[in-house]
Amino acid sequence: MELDPVFLSRLQFAWVVAWHILPYALLFGLSSWRFALAGSRRSTEREIYLRISMFWIKIFSVSFGMGVVSGVIMPFQFGTNWSRFSDATADILGPLLAYEGLTAFFLEAAFLGVLLFGRKLVPPWAHFTAALMVAFGTLFSSFWILAANSWMQTPAGYELIDGRFLPRDWIEIIFNPSFPYRLAHTVVAFYVTTAFAVVAVAAWLLRRGRFFAEASIMMSMTLWLLSVLVPLQIFIGDLHGLNTREHQPAKLAAVEAHWETARGVPLVLFAVPDEENETNHLAIEVPYLGSLILAHSLDGEIKGLKDFPREDRPPVAIPFLSFRLMVGIGVLMLAVVVASWWLRYRDRLFDSPWFLRACMMMAPLSFVAVLAGWTTTEVGRQPWTVYGLMRTADSVPPSLTGGEVLVSLLGYMAVYLIIFPAGIMVMAKLVRKGPDTIESDSPIESGRPDRPTRVQFQSDGEQP
């Protein structure tokens, strides 16, 4: 079998990005979660918020380590495997990625040392600023990366000269048509994912009857938050869908597995799409619901895949199924949130075993939802790297062979399969230990036992 460098490069990119998104989603949410706790502590002056905060900062620091090391890999992928894409688009995407590096990565990385190790070495306001900068850093990072990603999906503000994309209007480039929706959808997804991780940990502690005070606060706070975020996310997702219909009709047709352009189309709940024969097997459909959801009217027109030449169509099965996986998990999330309202009303939020079990299951599922959503949008963009303008097949270096990519892909797989399970194990160990009461009294700030300090160690600063 001939090894295809394009397909293997896509696989490699998917592999390294997927493992970057997961810790990133968690550290993104946790940096804001720590703020909610700091705020609560300031207004109530209760110690318990600090204990919860100290507990999560340890998990934060592990996920940060994983996020940083998997992030260093990313910019080099554009060169090693996508050099022709880089040569063509760098005039536009280069500055966006560079701004990401400048504003975000540095804010995070340079202030993190102070945030993790320096609570007793710097005045409280400086430590607070460091924490704020880390949170801002993660937000800026998403802003620039998603601007670049959205430009690949819905390019705007460019001129195409000699096969190279040159900038014409930076505002149009950054705020391209799909960017606001993608940014909102992703940021809320990261918050929802993190919130479910917090809920799951709280549920686990409650089921074991440990640290009731801490766990019940974690659970209550985050379920309130989710009561807002989950419905909001469904609303934003719907807007994002309308945007896709307008700008990337072929992607929408693939996501919905619609072959014929028609009005009043049904919603395909499940099917096995057959790309060869341009049809679906075993389809379960709800009449008119497709048009109602996708176009917000019963006879709204939805373009079918047959309107696009075969070579311009994305794969159908993957985005179709990954989208259903994401939406399905979203519905489960909503069910958990609604159940929490009822249980809260009945005062049974912390002691219903079935509910706690459901909460624990939602944590891994919410990470799966992030990956499923991302798979939908990226596979749905195929066969283009710059939608409608530059093909994925024309984006890899001419010198690259399938064998080389296979070796590098196996290398990334081997290393990631050692370090990520190790990271998850370490986090599980931290969770099992629970919010320890002792550590808030010691000078250990990040949970690293041997902390670097000055010889003249004068501890005062913020009172624990």
């Binding site: 592990v62 380590g65 994983m66 940083v68 090391v69 998997s70 992030g71 260093v72 890999i73 910019p75 554009f78 060169g79 090693t80 050099s83 022709r84 880089s86 040569d87 760098a90 005039d91 280069g94 500055p95 990625l97 560079a98 590096g101 400048l102 504003t103 540095f106 990385a109 340079a110 993190l112 040392g113 993790l116 190790f117 320096g118 040159l166 900038p167 930076w170 270096p397 001419p398 010198s399 690259l400 080389e404 590098s408 290398g411 290393v415 370090i419 990271g423 194990m425 370490v426 160990k429 009294d441 000078p443 949970g447 036992p449 041997d450 902390r451 670097p452 300090t453 003249q456 160690f457």
Partner: protein
């Protein structure tokens, strides 16, 4: 194009500084990583690790800045050099991943501490060697067809690039030793002085070999250094190198605590300037100049606006975080309060 405002020199300077900061900063912590492997016991290993724990990830982000800076300012160079170095880059990245997670895991995953210790030390060594190989391959130049790399996978391997790989191991080792002399005391410091001397000898040998080898291989480089009046104008570079080497040796032998690090930094600066003089104005050696590989003025201008504001801020707070963690690291503080 815009004949009045030429951003290329500014971007050359910014990127040059960025890469230099990376080499200096991650250089010392990669060097510390390698010396970590020579430490005799867990206590001193913990201490050595702690001397760089708060700063290493900040240091490593200069690598990202170098990468995306090259992409944004000189995309043609990025699109040729990076695929040409496919495997050294892969090996470097995987090694950096291992050493990066080792910081967190050796404390939190105590049952496998030895594994992560090895990951840290070998990861540092392999990443350093890979960077040295890349430097050598870069100086030797790549086979190019139009706007693409046209060579094959293993073009990067040559006696010269293997030599520069080993040279950089000694170089980062020297920087690491300088850092440890600055940050530690007693036995660890004494060991760092011993290791530093070995590294300094290695570095000087390497500088000598490169200085003879490069002009022999490339007539244009020989011409640049040895023609009149260049030979007189450029003479300060080798002379300053000899002086810096002498000063570093004195610092290693005496009681100076900052001397070794400063001396090593000066040696790196001079070597860096030496390479820049040899290759100027090429960014893809012997094929494309900085101006030919540059992105559009509009791109360079857009990024420059933010960079001129952000870069000083970054430098200030990088300096601040070093200031916060200044002084010696001590192993006995941590559990007791």
């Amino acid at each position: 194009m815009n004949p009045v405002l030429d951003f290329v020199p500014i971007w050359t300077l910014i990127l040059g500084l960025g890469i230099f900061f990376y080499v200096l900063l991650d250089g010392f912590d990669l060097g510390v990583g390698m010396l970590h492997g020579l430490a005799p016991d867990t206590g001193s290993r913990n201490l050595i690790m702690n001397s760089i724990a708060p700063v290493w990830d900040g240091n490593e982000t200069w690598l990202v800045l170098g990468g995306v800076g090259l992409l944004a300012a000189f995309p043609l160079a990025f699109a040729i050099i990076i695929p040409a170095l496919y495997f050294p880059i892969l090996v470097m990245l995987l090694a950096l991943v291992f050493r990066g997670v080792a910081f967190e895991f050796r404390f939190r995953d105590a049952p496998h501490r030895t594994f992560w210790d090895h990951g840290f030390c070998y990861g540092s060594a392999v990443a350093t060697f890979a960077q040295g190989v890349m430097l050598g391959a870069f100086i030797q130049g790549f086979e190019i067809d139009g706007r693409h790399f046209a060579g094959t996978t293993f073009d990067f391997i040559s006696p010269f690039s293997l030599m520069t790989g080993i040279a950089l191991v000694f170089g980062y080792g020297l920087l690491g030793a300088g850092w440890l002399i600055l940050k530690t005391e007693a036995e660890i410091q004494a060991a760092a002085r011993r290791h530093g001397k070995i590294c300094l000898v290695g570095v000087l040998l390497a500088v000598l070999i490169v200085s003879v080898w490069t002009p022999l291989q490339h007539a244009e480089i020989a011409d640049r250094w040895f023609s009149w009046p260049n030979i007189a104008l450029l003479a300060p570079v080798p002379i300053a190198t000899a002086l810096a080497a002498f000063g570093t040796w004195r610092a290693l032998s005496g009681t100076s605590e900052a001397g070794t690090f400063i001396g090593a930094a000066i040696l790196f600066t001079l070597s860096y300037i030496g390479i820049a003089i040899s290759l100027w104005p090429m960014i893809v050696p012997y094929h494309y100049t900085l101006w030919e590989a540059a992105s559009s003025p509009k791109t360079q201008a857009f990024l420059l606006v933010g960079t001129l504001f952000l870069l000083p801020v970054i430098l200030v707070y990088t300096g601040w975080s070093y200031w916060v963690f200044r002084g010696k690291v001590r192993g006995d503080i941590g559990y007791h309060h």
